[in-house]
Each structure stands twice: as C-alpha cells, then as structure tokens.
C-alpha cells in the first residue's frame, strides 16, 4: 500500500476524521491559519467558533462528558493557548478526555520571543495528562493518534499538541491509527483477582456497609454504571455518590442516600462516618468529601478501586487498594459474589437501614417555605419537577447554585450532569452547555447559574446565537457571590468584602442584545410560569430568577469538621462558632 503524502494541516484533519471526531471547538489566529484553511476545504469535521478559548475547552468538556467521546479544541498560539489553560486544568482535575491543538510560531522562531509566542508545552505541562511539541511533520500523524489514545484511556485527561506553523505547511506521510501498544504508557485496567476476592469477602461480612461511587464509574462507561447498580442492588447496601458521580446510580432508588461531602446529604455523611466497610469505586477521597481526615470513617475497613494508582492511599489509607477500571472490577466482583453466594448479615443490615432512616428523617434539605421571596431551593425544585420527564442535561457554574443543583436536581442516568468539581471553575456552565447542546441537538440543556459566574463567560451567548443553540440559562440571582458571602458570614464575622456585585446588568436586556429571550421572575407566583415559558421556547433563553439574597446552602460540613458534625441549617450552632481554628485555614 502506498503511503499517502499531504501537508501537515490536511494530515491533521484527516487524523481527526479517522479518530471519529465530528466537531471541533475553536478560535482562529495567525499560527493556525493553515488548519482553518484545511477545515474550509472539507465537510467531515464541523468547527464551532467560540468567543473565548477558555469556553472552547469547557464546550469540549461538555461535549465529552455528555457523549463519552474525546472533546477536541483548536486554538492559536500565545494568548490562544494561555486562555485555554483554565479549561485544561479543569479537564485534568475532573478526568475529562480532551485533545487540544494549539498553534505555535514556526520552529525556527521558537525561543525568540516571536509575536504570539508562548512556551505552550512548558505552561501546560502541569495542567495536562501529557503534551507534545511536533517538530517534524513525519511524527505528526503518530502523535495525533497517540494523543487521542492517551486522552481517552486509563484515567482520562486533557492532552495538548503544540503545532508550529511550518509543520502545518510541510509535506509528510500520513499513517492511520494502529493498534500497536504504546512503548511506555500502559494503564492497568484489569484488577488483581486475589484483591477482588478479598474485597468481596469484606463486603459480604459487613454489618454497616456503604458504597461510595465517583466519576470514575461514569468515565468507565454505561456498562460500568449498570454493573454498579446491579452490585449495589444485589447486596441491598446503601449507596452514596460524589458530585462527579451523580447519575451513576439512579437517584430515585431507595438505596441511594444522595450525594455526600461538604454540602452532601446528612444521611450519606453520617453513614460514611459510622460505616464498618466502605467500598469506594472511581472516587478519590477529595477534601470536599472526607471532611477532617483524622475523623473520616474512623471505624471502617476501606476498599478503594481506582484506575489511577496514585489515587490509592493518597489522602486516606485504605485496607484493600485495587488498581483497575471500575467496570472491570465490578464485573469481577459480581462474578465472585455470584459464584460464592455469600450470606450477608441480614439482621445487622436491617438495623443499619433503621439507623440510616433515622438520619433520613432529619430531612436535611428542608428550607423555609415562604411566599415573600423566591427561595433558590424552591426555584430548583420547580425546575426539576418541570424537566424530570424531558430529555434533560444540566450543567452548572460554581458556587451555592451548583450545590443546590446537586441537591435538588435528581439524575437517574449517567452523562446528564456536567459540573466543574475538582477545579471549581466559575464560567464553566454556559460553554459546557453549548458543547452538550451541539452533541444533543434535540435535548433540553440547562445551565444552572449564579449571576456572578455567568458573567465570567457571558460572551458565549453570541456563540449560542450563531449556531441557534436553544440552551437555557437559569440564573439564581442573589446579587452576591453567594458561596463567598456564606463563608464570610460563617467565618469572617459577616464582613462581606467584595462579594456583593454592584452594577449587575439587566439580564433580560442582555439576553435580548445577544438575540436570546430574556425572562424574569421576582415573585414565587411567577416561578412556574417562567420555567414553563423557558422550556417551551425553542431558542436560547436567559432566566433571571431574583432569589433570596441571604439564603445559605445547607446542610454543611464546616471546614475542618467531621462527617458527623454537619450543620443542618442557620439555627444549628456549634460551640465556639461553626468553624474551628484549624478549619479557618482550609479552603
């Protein structure tokens, strides 16, 4: 077979096609002009023109998380690449597969402080899973295929390919993707059989067990989620999920205790604290989840399954660490369980559930029902009721609204919930919703936002207009950076330094300026009508929900506190103030 020769830029587009890429989110510039020329000449790969490179990465993240495919970004050199850094870091923290193509000045100018030059591989080294600088067109197709392989396998993550302009013009041979194993990168996906048996034994003999699932189950795929559900149901044990794991287990099922962590459910956190066997799958013992480490599930044996060996024993010492893919590990555990048919301690389990039901009866999401002001929780309850039977995808920005969304929007299946968990990136939700809507044109895609976060990437309303994407932006507007204000109230004597946003725009007029529909609700009686109108409008809609300015997000594990020291509401006081001295220094 003769090898096809072509220019670097054409090779790139061909490689994207061979990798099954149908859409690229990007922004042009001098260094990537040859690529844009190649895009112009073909119809296989669609380009979505964003308004800021950070948004291109978040859009690709939304696309990737809602489809399970690799998201692709194309930006120019210098500022194009540096603007993408926040998105890349976000994708690294949340394990989202991204391939980001960055333009670079021609090879002979690298290091000369050329116009729009930045040391992209240097800058992105700590915020990518891996990066490449292509200095020879003969390496180009291999590098692209390798980048996709690295991005989507093992613990997924972002990969940058830096492309000097001369390489894009140079002619070279194109090689299609091959199945040749990588010479050094070999993620371990098959779990150790003996460890799996040890884990099953522990699980079977538990008296107060809990499953603690995370985003790793979703990243493993729908099959892993189905296996997780099968295993949890087979045991009859309670199950909690992390912020990133929501949807891996159906929220409506009675064995689901809800999300755990700082703003997680009272029953989930108490069950974590009191459990005797913890089964962590695809979750990473993040500080938002564990609370104070020396009081974290103190009397438990811990099993931890993770595809990333560096996640094991990182924050919390576990008894049975298992390296492997969540799906494969669950399959292996189910097999052992089904062949051994262990007898579980039913009376102990019944007692455990009785205890859990007691915690549940505290009704931790309770809030003051009132007609005087729109409570943010009320707005989300109504939004959930109106969208639960639709083909709905939810994205969020970061802050109080994000936590309320995690509490009040329920997810019955994976890939329906996109939020910035690890990095906590304000401005994530709108571009992410854009990416989701591109992937799912007929679906209802809602960005639950705060009025501060939304302004961080508000320019993307222009992208939504250009591509007629009917994304719904649901702003819980309290005129404060709510979570900042809440922490200032709890820890800094209510001195609200710079957390109040003066001179907010009129979001209705702002929407109209971008060719979108703007709606507003200021009274509880208007909430349902506005939600109805929003959902029935087949265009981009921005909803300005004027909510209670001073509402705080509860329940809450204060910084430096343990799972069983949750605050249930504003009247729930701890001795010596809500936050300990050690807690004050924590974020």
């Amino acid at each position: 077979m003769s090898v096809e020769r072509m220019a670097g830029a054409e090779m790139l587009i061909k490689a994207l096609g061979d990798q099954g890429v149908d859409v690229v989110f990007g922004y042009p510039g001098g260094a990537v002009l040859p690529i844009y020329d190649a895009i112009f000449k073909q119809n296989q790969v669609r380009h979505i023109l964003v308004r800021h490179e950070q948004a291109a990465v978040h859009a690709a993240e939304g696309y990737a998380r809602s489809t399970g495919k690799v998201g692709v970004v194309l930006v120019t050199s210098g500022p194009g690449a540096t603007n993408a850094v926040t998105g890349l870091t976000d994708a690294l923290m949340d394990s989202i597969p991204i391939v980001c193509l960055t333009g670079q000045v021609p090879t002979h100018l690298i290091g000369n402080d050329a116009f729009q030059e930045a040391d992209t591989t240097g800058i992105t080294r700590p915020c990518t899973k891996h990066n490449y600088l292509v200095k020879d067109v003969n390496d180009l197709s291999r590098v692209i295929h390798e980048a996709f392989y690295v991005a989507r396998t093992g613990r997924p993550g972002p990969v940058v390919i830096d492309l000097p302009k001369d390489i894009l013009f140079a002619n070279g041979p194109y090689s299609p993707p091959t199945a040749i194993a990588h010479k050094s990168y070999r993620p371990q996906t098959d779990p150790d059989k003996a460890k799996i048996e040890e884990a099953v034994e522990l699980i079977a003999n538990a008296k107060k067990p809990i499953f603690y699932g995370g985003g790793g189950i979703i990243n493993s795929g729908e099959k892993a989620c189905a296996l997780f559900q099968e295993f949890v149901k087979l045991t009859g044990y309670p199950c909690t999920l992390t912020l990133m794991g929501l949807g891996a287990y159906p929220a409506g099922d009675k064995q689901f205790l809800g999300m755990l962590g700082m703003h997680g459910m009272y029953e989930a956190n108490h069950a974590m604290h009191d459990c005797d066997v913890m089964v962590a799958i695809g979750s990473r013992f993040d500080d938002r989840v564990t609370g104070r480490l020396n009081a974290f599930a103190p009397n438990s044996k811990k099993i931890h399954i993770d595809i990333d060996p560096s996640s094991l024993n990182k924050n919390v010492r576990v008894d049975v660490p298992i390296v492997g893919d969540a799906g494969k590990a669950l399959e292996a555990m189910l097999e052992v369980w089904k062949s051994k048919k262990p007898k579980i301690d039913k009376p102990a389990l019944a007692e455990w559930w009785r205890q859990i039901d007691q915690w549940r009866s505290r009704d931790c999401l309770r809030y003051e029902k009132t007609d005087k002001v729109i409570k943010p929780q009320f707005a989300l309850e109504r939004l959930y009721a109106a969208t639960r039977n639709r083909d709905t995808y939810i994205t969020t920005e970061v802050g109080q609204h994000q936590m309320w969304a995690a509490q009040f929007m329920k997810f019955e299946e994976p890939k329906r919930w996109m939020t910035s968990g690890g990095l906590g990136t304000m401005g994530y939700g709108l571009p992410a919703a854009m990416g989701v809507q591109i992937a799912h044109p007929g679906a209802t895609v809602i960005d639950i936002a705060g009025e501060a976060s939304i302004l961080m990437n508000i320019q993307e309303l222009s992208t939504l207009a250009q591509y007629r994407l009917p994304v719904k932006v649901f702003i819980l507007n309290n005129q404060y950076m709510g979570m900042v204000r809440q922490w200032q109230e709890l820890m800094h004597g209510g001195r609200y330094a710079e957390s109040y946003t003066a001179s907010l725009p009129d979001f209705v007029k702002l929407a109209e300026a971008f060719g979108a529909v703007g709606l507003r609700a200021t009274k509880t009686s208007e909430v349902d009508d506005v939600i109805k109108e929003m959902l029935e409008t087949d265009r981009t809609v921005v909803v300005d929900m004027a909510v209670d300015q001073l509402e705080n997000c509860f329940p809450m594990i204060p910084s430096g506190a343990a799972h069983n020291e949750m605050l249930l509401g504003p009247s729930d006081k701890r001795e010596g103030g809500p936050v300990s001295e050690e807690g004050m220094v924590l974020v």
Binding site: G122, R125, P126, V150, S184, D308, P309, S310, R317
Partner: protein
C-alpha cells in the same frame, strides 16, 4: 506522624525534550523533596535515559512519589532501590583546595587516605576527584574545610541494584 525516610529511586525514561522538566515539575508542584537528581542517556539504541533521584518523605509520600512518576507518559519503569534491597550507590565529586605549606601537604595526605585522585595541580591548589558514598564524600569535604576548601562540584547519587537482576 510517620518517620521521614530517605529513598533512592531509579527511573527509566524516553530520552526526549522536556522529560526531565516533567519529573522536576512533578516534585516541585506536589511539594516533594529532591535531595539529589542525576540524569544521562544509558541506552542509545532504545533512546532511554536513566534518572536517579534521592528523595525523602513519609512511607505514604514515597509510595505517592512512585505512583505519580509512573503516571507520566514517557516513563517506562520506576524502581525504588531502597525498598528492593541491596544496591550500590556512588557519587563523584571534584573538590578544589587552595593553600600552601603544611595545609597543602595535609590535604594531599588526607586525599591519599580517602583514595581521592589529584586531577589538577598548581603550586597553590589541588583538584581532587573522589568517588564514593555520599557520607564518604561529606566526610572528606568536611576535612578539607580548614585546609583551604575553595570549590565543590558533585554529581549527586547514581545507583544500581546488586546481583544479576536487570532493570
């Protein structure tokens, strides 16, 4: 708190641009210690370099360091020589001592005892070359201090396992 342990870790990596920056960036970004680090190509045919890094931390941190290193794409193998058992560690130093008279003679005498070689000499200076364990080098350098120690250049530790086992 667990005790701090010192470990010598050998890492086989692709000899490509940026690989050392990845390793060093990992240590600095995650707050791990580097007591010494050496790197050089060891296998031209397969384009491999070997990094020897001496680090310290609690046992949990040492395990983390190895797991984090293994995660880097161009890294082939990570070996904890301290954990794996008997191994040889050597360091090379070039030590410049400036002086005349009795001090000069004493430095030469001590160099002989320590089996250091003279690789450069002027009428008022010596450059000694010395190979050995870090402790031996430290001891010799300390002795040179009052005798006119002027300059030291050290390679950091290189290490290899004992016996017939390959890397």
């Amino acid at each position: 708190m667990s005790a701090i342990e010192k470990h010598t870790i050998a890492v086989l990596v692709d000899n490509e641009p940026g690989v050392l920056a990845r390793v060093i960036g990992l240590f600095s970004g995650r707050g791990y210690n580097i007591e010494s680090l050496t790197v050089a190509e060891v296998d031209r045919a397969n384009n491999l370099s070997r990094i020897t890094v001496v680090t310290s931390g609690t046992p949990m941190i040492i395990v983390q360091i190895k797991a984090q290193l293994s995660r880097l794409v161009p890294i082939h193998t990570v070996r904890d020589l301290t954990d794996e058992g008997p191994h040889v560690e050597r360091e090379l130093a070039l030590i410049k001592v400036v002086g005349t008279g009795e001090k000069r003679i004493e430095s030469l005498r001590l160099a002989d005892i320590f089996r250091a070689r003279v690789v450069d000499s002027t009428i008022d200076s010596f450059v000694f070359e010395m190979t050995g364990s870090t402790e031996k080098l430290n001891a010799f350098i300390n002795l040179m201090e009052p005798l006119g120690l002027a300059d030291v250049s050290r390679t950091g530790v290189v290490a290899i396992s004992r016996g017939s086992a390959k890397f």
